[in-house]
């Protein structure tokens, strides 16, 4: 190698080194803040509960629960059963069958004795036309099934909002179940502060959980490695990062599996965007934009103690599909609302939330793969100090593992999760594997997600469903 090329490569690697130091320092700082703020907040919440610093009386805000479904004949009946067992009085359930090609609607009609009705529905949000409406008044709360032409999940949610009767609606996935007290917990932030326009709940993988009558009877980490590693991921998100975003009204994502929204604001903002795959995130970002543009005082909250159990994919292929879909949704959302970027009008939402999702979620797979390639190139060009690289890799894995474990152990402050010795051992053993292997596999999946995504618009994500252990 000529001295000129060598000098150039040295300068190149110095720049890359500096970039990665700053990049990783930013990421480490974010994770560090997340887990420390998350743990201390959960600790405070538990103490509040002990000291009766919570709403004691029975306050009920009427809520419409909207469940969009597409080919969900395996799990939908369990989901509706779980909804009928909620410890809440004033709510209705609206299932929207978005042009299923299986017997989703028939299964539901049989299970709950639904009857065909000629119900007029006000079309305040655009969506595909209704094929039929079924209702039942024979259960604890009104139950409605709307069969409509296929239009995607966002379209189905818009239909559910149109049909809803109450001022707040809750969206949830058809493959999820709620704990008995989850709706009550989800509504609390609205009762605490009436400027709240949306509340996200905590989502936990139900693989390994036995839920009886809407209460967790038994919980263990899943037996299979893949869902087990996802538990660690979920904990980092729901017991750490989301709590941090909540502190400064910076939540820009509410899981599609479990979120509460003020209907009037959502309708005024235009409802769900049926042209995006990340409709949940898009809606939340849109609410930030709408409220700030119209000078509406607002809060978007996260309720740590409102729990929804969902199925984590057990096969790598399903997980890859899911993450590909999430990444496309993230890309669509961030590009659609790019005016937020570095815009002082959006305050912390712009400078922290948007920047975090741009740098450490959307661009991270490219940056990570670029990092791996430059290390490979450095090895070929003999620029790599191998022992030093191994040391740094070790520090990276150890640090990430410690952060994952800190988030995982924060579950001791939650009301319902108890830590067992075997689960703790599993977490310790798997956290390094998750950081060093799964993360890179998913980085590759996310990096390639955007190739040819336009062809897949408005398609429901399919992963293998299993019956949820819910009685």
């Amino acid at each position: 190698m000529s001295p000129g090329v060598r000098d150039f490569m040295e300068a190149f690697y110095n720049s890359i080194g500096l970039f990665f130091v700053l990049y990783m320092l930013g990421y480490a700082s974010f994770l560090f803040l997340s887990v420390t703020v998350g743990s201390s907040t959960l600790f405070g919440a538990r103490r509040r509960s002990l000291l009766k610093s919570e709403l004691q009386n029975e306050y009920y805000i009427p809520v419409s629960i909207v469940v969009p479904a597409h080919n969900e004949n395996v799990t939908l009946v369990d989901t509706v059963h779980s909804l009928l067992q909620l410890d809440y009085r004033l709510y209705e359930i609206i299932v929207v069958d978005d042009g299923s090609t299986d017997d989703t609607a028939d299964v539901l009609i049989d299970a709950f004795d639904l009857r065909l009705v000629n119900r007029p529905i006000q079309r305040r949000l655009r969506c595909q036309p209704v094929l039929a409406v079924y209702e039942s008044r024979a259960h604890k709360v009104p139950l409605t099934l709307i069969r409509k032409k296929n239009g995607g999940k966002a379209d189905a949610l818009n239909m559910g909002i149109n049909a809803s009767q109450y001022p707040y609606f809750m969206c949830m996935d058809a493959d999820s179940v709620l704990q008995r007290d989850s709706l009550e917990m989800l509504v609390r932030p609205v009762l605490e502060d009436d400027t709240v326009v949306a509340v996200g709940g905590a989502v936990r993988p139900c693989n390994g959980a036995t839920i009886v009558d809407g209460k967790v009877e038994k919980y263990r980490m899943p037996r299979k490695i893949l869902p087990c590693m996802q538990v660690l991921e979920y904990d980092r998100s729901f017991l750490a990062a989301r709590i941090l975003f909540d502190k400064f009204n910076g939540s820009i994502i509410i899981s599609g599996a479990f979120g509460l929204f003020k209907k009037s604001v959502v309708v005024d903002a235009g409802g769900y965007d049926a042209t995006t795959m990340g409709e949940n995130m898009e809606l939340v970002v849109k609410l930030h934009v709408f409220c700030r543009e119209h000078d509406i005082p607002y809060r978007i909250r996260y309720a740590t103690d409102a729990i929804c159990w969902t199925q984590a994919p057990e096969r790598l292929r399903d997980l890859m599909k899911q993450r590909r879909r999430w990444h496309i949704g993230l890309f669509q959302c961030l590009t659609r609302h790019r005016r937020i970027l570095m815009n002082p009008k959006y305050g912390m939402v712009s400078f922290i939330s948007y920047m975090y999702f741009l740098l450490y979620e959307l661009l991270s797979p490219y940056i990570e793969v670029f990092g791996v390639l430059t290390i490979g190139l450095a090895g070929i060009l003999d620029f790599l100090n191998f022992p030093f690289w191994v040391l740094y890799l070790g520090i990276y894995i150890a640090f990430s593992a410690i952060l994952s474990l800190t988030a995982f152990f924060a579950r001791i402050h939650t009301i319902d999760l108890r830590l067992t010795f075997s689960d703790a051992v599993k977490a310790v053993l798997l956290c390094a594997l998750e950081v060093s292997c799964l993360r890179f596999v998913l980085a590759w999946v996310r990096m390639t997600a955007l190739f040819g995504y336009r062809k897949k618009k408005m398609v429901w994500g399919r992963i293998e469903r299993k019956k949820i252990s819910f009685r």
Binding site: L25, A28, S39, S53, Q56, V117, D193, F399, I402
Partner: protein
């Protein structure tokens, strides 16, 4: 070591410390319930011993209450004592139990300044304790109630809610109005439902409370005024004239006037019939909320004039007016099928709406039959 490495190590060290704290806390927490149960048993035994002492000697042991005051200044002990007290004295109907609770009141007075200085969550718990065990109700000259009113200025939401709940139990209307006024002057956000539903749990003289609210009505913000109107609507139908005045007063906020319209939907008041019909007939799209709510309120008024307006409402361009008109018509004593033919025959939307209401009524009746 570079600066970046130092930061990473520092972060790692803090996280490891948190991990250790969490593991240790988990072990501590596992024993906590057991310790709390044990403490509760100890308090229970002590209360029963003191009750026995009183039944035997006819007097209380001062030493016992001095010791109690000392231990109850710790919030964990107060929690255990709360549970024990509920078990030991129940509703306090016998002489000893009632006497014990009375004797306890002095103790609460002494504990109040102690908890006032504590962190807000502990202060909130003390307010919760008071709402459960304070006896001297219906007294206006009470230092503890003044303290609860003071809590309205606290930043901690639950401090305010628990204090308000205590005041509802104490049952002194002047203090409630004073507390609401203090709350209204602060910048603290609160949900109207919390205040309205809370007022409904008030355990004193509702009539006197409502009178006091009316006296100060115009001093409150619109939000509190709305809570008061909603509270009155849920509570009593005796304020028709005042409500009528608010409904007709165009200078009032829309929310207040609509609340008044709802009032006349719950309580039939003949002088309100005319204005309600006018609201319902108003074709101006700007006033659609008045029209929609008035249409609902007319459900309980009988007469051809009402039916005629509701039938007009079925053809309204506003969805809510149409829907509410169909519901209100259903409540009239008419042959609904005939109505569908007469009214709905000309208008597909009206017909659909009425047909659906008919199906809805059948389903509801069937469901009630099954449940009944």
């Amino acid at each position: 070591m570079t600066g970046a490495e130092m930061i990473l190590y520092a972060y790692g060290a803090v996280c490891v410390a948190m991990l250790i704290f969490n593991v240790a806390y988990d072990f501590f927490q596992r024993g906590r319930d057991e310790r709390m149960g044990k403490k509760q048993e100890e308090y229970l035994a002590a209360i029963r011993a003191e009750l026995a002492f009183f039944r035997e000697k006819g007097t209380w042991e001062e030493r016992y209450f001095r010791r109690l005051k000392k231990t109850l200044s710790r919030v964990d002990n107060l929690i255990a004592f709360d549970r024990a007290l509920t078990d030991a004295v129940g509703d306090g109907t016998d002489e000893a139990s009632a006497g014990y609770q009375e004797r306890l009141q002095n103790l609460l007075l002494e504990l109040a300044p102690v908890y006032r200085k504590r962190e807000k969550m502990e202060a909130a718990y003390f307010a919760y304790f008071l709402s459960r065990h304070k006896l001297e109700k219906f007294r206006t000259d009470d230092a503890i109630q003044d303290l609860m009113v003071e809590y309205m200025t606290e930043d901690n939401l639950y401090c305010r809610i628990n204090a308000m709940n205590a005041l509802y139990v104490f049952g002194v209307p002047e203090k409630i109005v004073q507390a609401v006024a203090v709350l209204d002057r602060t910048d603290h956000v609160f949900n109207e439902k919390i205040l309205t539903d809370g007022l409904l749990t008030y355990q004193g003289d509702h009539e006197r409370l409502t009178e006091l609210f009316w006296e100060k009505f115009d001093d409150f913000s619109m939000k509190v005024q709305l809570c008061i109107l909603n509270y009155v609507r849920f509570r009593t139908g005796t304020y028709t004239e005042r409500m009528f005045g608010i409904m007709q007063d165009v200078s009032r906020y829309k929310e207040l006037r609509i609340s008044a319209i709802r009032y006349f939907g719950k309580y039939v008041y003949e002088p309100a019939r005319g204005p309600l019909l006018e609201f319902a007939r108003d074709p101006d799209p700007v006033n659609w909320e008045y029209a929609a709510i008035a249409t609902t309120s007319l459900a309980r008024y009988r007469g051809d004039d009402v039916v005629s307006v509701l039938m007009e409402g079925l053809h309204s361009p506003n969805w809510y007016v149409r829907y509410n008109a169909a519901v209100s018509l259903e409540a009239q004593d008419l042959d609904y099928m005939d109505l569908i033919e007469v009214v709905g025959g000309r208008d597909r939307y009206a017909r659909e709406m009425m047909m659906y209401r008919l199906e809805f009524r059948r389903m509801t009746q069937e469901a009630q039959g099954v449940k009944g």
